[in-house]
């Protein structure tokens, strides 16, 4: 079912700038060349009946309902497949058309159940609407003949019982029962009109091609994979088919349960960095379903299984909705009022600062929070706590992107918008897995690849993109984990030594000395693909081929992810990527660029908002006197000009006794940060840990105060996605804990003696805009007007900036950096002969706190260790065996999945379940520039085992204790 508020024009928008004039039902209209007659009519306010057409999809012309008459043309062309032409005269309503349409509808309805009143699509069923529109008043054919509607049909004479009766029935071979296997939607074939919209949505929009029309003629039916149940098929549950379905054949279970929504609110998804725009379809304060917004600038009406369906966590019984306090982490929680909780935190933080010094407390913001919330937390720390000990979880994901792109290009952000890929000829994906981690952009990328763009994948694993329906990578450089810089330098070597440099671009746009030094540096023989082959494991010929394609294949764009940043040389890799783009002139226009795919929804925003200890909002160093004075004036207090502690520094400081109090908003460091045992030791050493979250997460088990946070559905604000796009988050229900997160931070600031008096998040954004040059033109009003804005948005760019560095780089001239390959200290040995690398999967998100509390666990209910058959055989492992994974940091136990996606010598796991202990194994190694952890390279040994690791046993015991303490939490009434 399509959105309840959007008007569907039937076919996609045409992009031509040439206009064509025509007349429809006597009305004159001008539309872009390539527009269908159906869409032109819609634009003129004329609805042509349709069933198989929707603007989500290319015209198909199968339902024969949208026929029109065109002056001077014979017959009755389908308006969806007929493009407009100059001077065309169209009639959409004639007696003959009415007769044809009624005839067509009569046939449809003759094979469709008539349970409209109790059907979930009732009120928004297109079939029902069309029956009304064409004036169908009866079905002459009866329902006794061949049909897909009834489970049984009247028995044939020779099949009747003896003695025969007119009530004898036999099974209907055309009937198929409802498939309810998918947790989020049902498939009821009896209601299917075989319009193919679902099949086309699966192919055209999502690019999975899991659905097909099986059989011919009257036997045609929709099938998932080889006639499997939806859950067992290749379906990725993106929901595009459900949205496309004009009847109740594919229906959300939530819609079946709750009935039609009565209003719809546009908001932004709180999952990955794509930042899809959604319409939350509501009944009062209850969500009926989430429908991706056709007008959404990042997603254009598409979504994935997480954003569309996995929102049940927001109303999960595990939500904690009252503040709680305890003196020691071994005590039961005590439920307290907001006043008491806030006063307690303030008095504890003041006590700690009085005892151990001003710098003994700090705060951590999260990429899961809004811009306004992260801005307030860093303001609280800098102005309220009086130090710069604030950091964000981007520390452990994309901090090298900020550092590397700022150093080379001058701004800590990606250079393009997502739609830029429509003009890309060569896509280079490095250390990213868009079809799993950024699925909606992954679908857009696949669409572009199907249309002919070439593809280079640089990844140790054979990710889905390497080979998927109608897509095959031209090059898959299957490098050894930890050798990104070596490979990027050898790509640069080929570009420089084979004369593929864009000399004009470099001469005009880049610092000449830095380029000359870089040219000499990468030309060294030691960086030739042949010399580097032994290091990277990638055949030299493939490297040369990929370099030539990237440099000379037309518009080339690099998309990269955490497989680039989460390394000891993460920042070096980012700079090496920027070097490649500059050397080949692939930056500063549409279709090219350097595109970091951000992990979480607001990674970009949390960094923009000054969450790092060394910089104010807008990436300005705290030591810059002019900037600091600006903030001092605005905030009314003196501010420090020295950087504060980063998250890993906070842990070290906690362990040496100088850091005692931590306010954590929306982040779960005890699960997400590396070397878990080190993290939990640090948390245990502190005196007041305050966790503000939806759930009693892993970190909260070490906390002294719990403040109930609000989900993205419960507050107003903005998120900024991977393309610097600022989009509104809108409140659709009251906060379950009573306060939105920004209000809690504000209460805390006031209790600490620092005044904050915002009445609405829009006022916070106004302050951000006042103080940050790249945000000068941003306001909630403008966001409401434009839908979304890509920063920089200011006097020069009042509508925002889709593509950066157009005429010059933000820093002026682009700066080539020397990127020496330095092997990581984490090396394989006889003791630890394998390399473990970590990643994510489509159905789960980050630490899983949200997605584990949804039916997404049906797709991924546990983290497994993927291992190549050769390594498995050497260890006597079978699929599903329990295996112990040991590194120098720790040990954990998972079940094995034997997979040829892996290369021999490399194993892989996800980190969505806390009990898996993926981060018990990862080490304290980190990026040289930013301390971003080296999650992607850990030397391990893998052996078959029969029981959980010692850490897992301790973890389970500890978790049981903490859950019991939560169960035993004492409410105020209990005292009385």
């Amino acid at each position: 079912m399509l959105s309840i508020v959007e008007i569907d024009a039937g076919t996609p928008k045409a992009t031509s700038t040439t206009m064509v004039a025509l007349e429809i039902d006597g009305r004159r209209i001008q539309v872009p060349e390539g527009t269908s007659v159906m869409r032109a009519a819609s634009q003129a306010g004329i609805g042509i009946p349709k069933l198989c057409a929707t603007e989500m999809l290319q015209a198909f012309g199968s339902c024969r309902l949208c026929l029109v008459e065109i002056e001077g043309r014979r017959g009755y062309p389908a308006s969806c497949t007929t493009p407009v032409s100059e001077g065309m005269k169209v009639s959409t309503q004639t007696p003959r058309l009415a007769e044809i349409r009624r005839g067509v509808m009569e046939l449809y309805i003759s094979d469709h159940p008539l349970d409209c009143l109790t059907c979930p699509a009732n009120g928004h069923c297109e079939l029902q609407d069309m029956a009304g529109v064409v004036g169908l008043r009866g079905v002459r054919y009866g329902y006794e003949g061949a049909n897909h509607v009834f489970a049984s049909v009247p028995a044939r004479e020779d099949q009747k019982a003896s003695p025969p009766s007119h009530t004898d029935r036999q099974a209907n071979p055309l009937f198929a029962a409802k498939d309810e296997s998918n947790p989020y939607f049902t498939f009821d074939p009896s209601k299917c009109i075989a319009c193919s919209r679902c099949v086309r949505a699966c192919g055209e929009v999502q690019g999975t091609f899991a659905l097909t029309i099986q059989g011919r003629g009257f036997e045609s039916k929709v099938a998932a994979s080889q006639g499997d149940r939806f859950l067992d098929s290749e379906c990725v549950s993106c929901g595009a088919c459900v949205q496309a379905c004009p009847t109740a054949t594919l229906s959300e279970k939530s819609l079946i349960e709750k009935g039609q929504a009565e209003h719809s609110v546009v908001t932004t998804c709180a999952y990955c960095g794509v930042g899809c725009s959604f319409r939350a379809e509501m009944k009062g304060q209850e969500i009926v379903r989430m429908v991706p917004n056709k007008e959404g600038h990042a997603n254009h009406g598409h979504s994935c299984v997480k954003g569309r369906f996995a929102i049940g966590y927001a109303s999960h019984p595990d939500r904690i909705t009252t503040p709680m306090v305890r003196a020691r982490t071994s005590d039961p929680w005590r439920v307290v009022s907001w006043e008491e909780a806030i006063a307690h935190v303030a008095s504890e933080f003041k006590r700690i600062q009085a005892t151990y010094g001003r710098h003994a407390v700090g705060g951590i913001t999260s990429s899961r929070c809004t811009n306004e919330e992260t801005y307030l937390v860093q303001k609280l720390v800098r102005a309220g706590f009086g130090n710069n000990n604030v950091d964000t979880c981007a520390r452990v994901c994309h901090s090298p992107t900020g550092y590397g792109l700022k150093t080379t290009l001058g701004e800590s952000a990606g250079t393009q918008d997502f739609d830029s890929i429509e003009l890309t000829d060569v896509v280079m994906v490095i250390g990213a897995n868009p079809t799993d981690a950024h699925p909606v952009f992954g679908s857009q990328m696949k669409r572009r690849l199907r249309a002919g763009a070439r593809l280079i994948v640089i990844d140790p694993r054979r990710i889905d993109l390497v080979r998927s329906p109608h897509i095959k990578a031209d090059y898959h450089l299957k490098l050894r984990p930890g050798t990104n810089v070596a490979l990027l330098d050898s790509l640069a070597h080929v570009i420089v030594t084979e004369g593929l440099v864009d000399e004009d671009f470099v001469a005009q746009r880049c610092e000449p000395e830095a380029f000359a030094r870089w040219r000499a540096f990468v030309s060294q023989e030691k960086y030739s693909p042949e010399a580097m082959e032994a290091t990277t494991g990638v055949p030299a010929a493939l490297v040369r081929g990929a370099a030539r394609l990237y440099a000379a294949g037309g518009n080339a764009a690099i998309y990269y992810g955490l497989g680039v940043t989460e390394h000891a040389q993460g920042s070096t890799s980012v700079m090496a990527i920027a070097n490649l783009a500059m050397a080949t002139g692939n930056i500063g226009r549409e279709g090219v660029g350097v595109n970091p795919l951000r992990g979480q929804n607001n990674v970009q925003g949390s960094c923009d908002m000054g969450s790092f200890p060394h910089e104010f909002p807008g990436y300005r160093h705290v030591s810059d006197d002019t900037v600091r004075h600006l903030f001092e004036q605005a905030w009314g207090v003196p501010l420090l000009g020295e950087p504060g502690l980063r998250i890993p520094n906070m842990f070290e400081a906690a362990l040496d006794g100088s850091f005692k109090g931590l306010y954590i908003e929306g982040e779960d460091i005890a699960q997400s940060d590396p070397d878990t045992q080190h993290v939990t030791a640090a948390l245990s050493a502190m005196e007041c840990i305050v966790v503000q979250d939806l759930f009693l997460n892993e970190s909260a088990k070490f906390a002294h105060v719990f403040l109930p946070g609000s989900s993205f559905l419960e507050k107003d604000g903005t998120f900024t996605n991977a393309e610097r796009r600022i989009s509104r988050v809108r409140k659709v229900m009251e906060p379950k804990g009573g306060h939105a997160d920004w209000e809690i931070t504000q209460l805390l600031a006031q209790a600490m003696g620092y005044p904050m008096h915002y009445a609405h998040p829009s006022e916070i954004m106004d302050e951000i805009a006042r103080l940050t040059p790249t945000f000068h033109g941003v306001s909630f009003d403008k966001l409401d007007r434009l839908g979304s804005i890509q920063w920089p948005c200011n006097e020069e760019h009042p509508l925002g900036t889709p593509v950066m560095h157009v005429d010059e780089f933000v820093r002026g001239k682009g700066r080539f950096m020397l990127t020496e390959y330095v092997p990581t200290a984490e090396r394989v040995s006889t003791e630890y002969p394998l390399i473990l690398t970590t990643g994510r999967i489509l159905s789960q998100y980050n630490v899983g706190a949200q997605t584990r509390r949804t039916d997404n666990v049906l797709w991924h209910g546990e983290d497994r260790l993927e291992i190549h058959p050769h390594d498995a055989e050497e260890r006597g492992l079978a699929d599903g065996d329990w295996v112990g994974i040991v590194s120098r940091a720790g040990e954990t136990v998972l079940r094995a999945r034997i997979s040829e996606r892996m290369q021999p010598g490399v194993v892989y796991t996800t980190f969505h379940f806390p009990g898996s202990g993926a981060n018990v194994i990862t080490t304290e190694n980190s990026d040289w520039a930013t301390n971003c952890p080296e999650y992607k390279v850990t030397a391990v040994q893998v052996t078959r085992v029969t029981q959980p690791s010692e850490w897992q046993k301790r973890y389970r015991a500890f978790t049981e204790t903490q859950e019991a303490l939560l169960e035993r939490s004492v409410k105020p009434l209990d005292h009385a």
Partner: protein, 76 residues
């Protein structure tokens, strides 16, 4: 803080700048990076460690830390 960790961090930074052909630029690069990104308490600690011998510090890190500004800034 554990000094071993700070030494590793300083050496990692030095290793990146070691490729820089101009020695003075390399030293400045390391020193500037530490100044811009390290909390003053960490800077003081590594400086004290160097003054006490600085065992295990990369030669470039030694030079950079030797000229590190540690007087101003956050108290411990």
């Amino acid at each position: 803080m554990k000094i071993e960790r700070l030494v590793t961090m300083a050496n990692d930074i030095a290793t990146f700048f070691a490729v820089e052909p101009d020695h003075a630029t390399a030293v400045h690069g390391v020193r500037d990076h530490i100044t811009r990104f390290w909390d003053p308490a960490m800077r003081r600690q590594i400086r004290t460690y160097l003054d006490e011998g600085g065992e295990g510090l990369h030669p470039l890190a030694r030079e950079a830390v030797a000229g590190l500004e540690v007087s101003a800034g956050n108290p411990a």
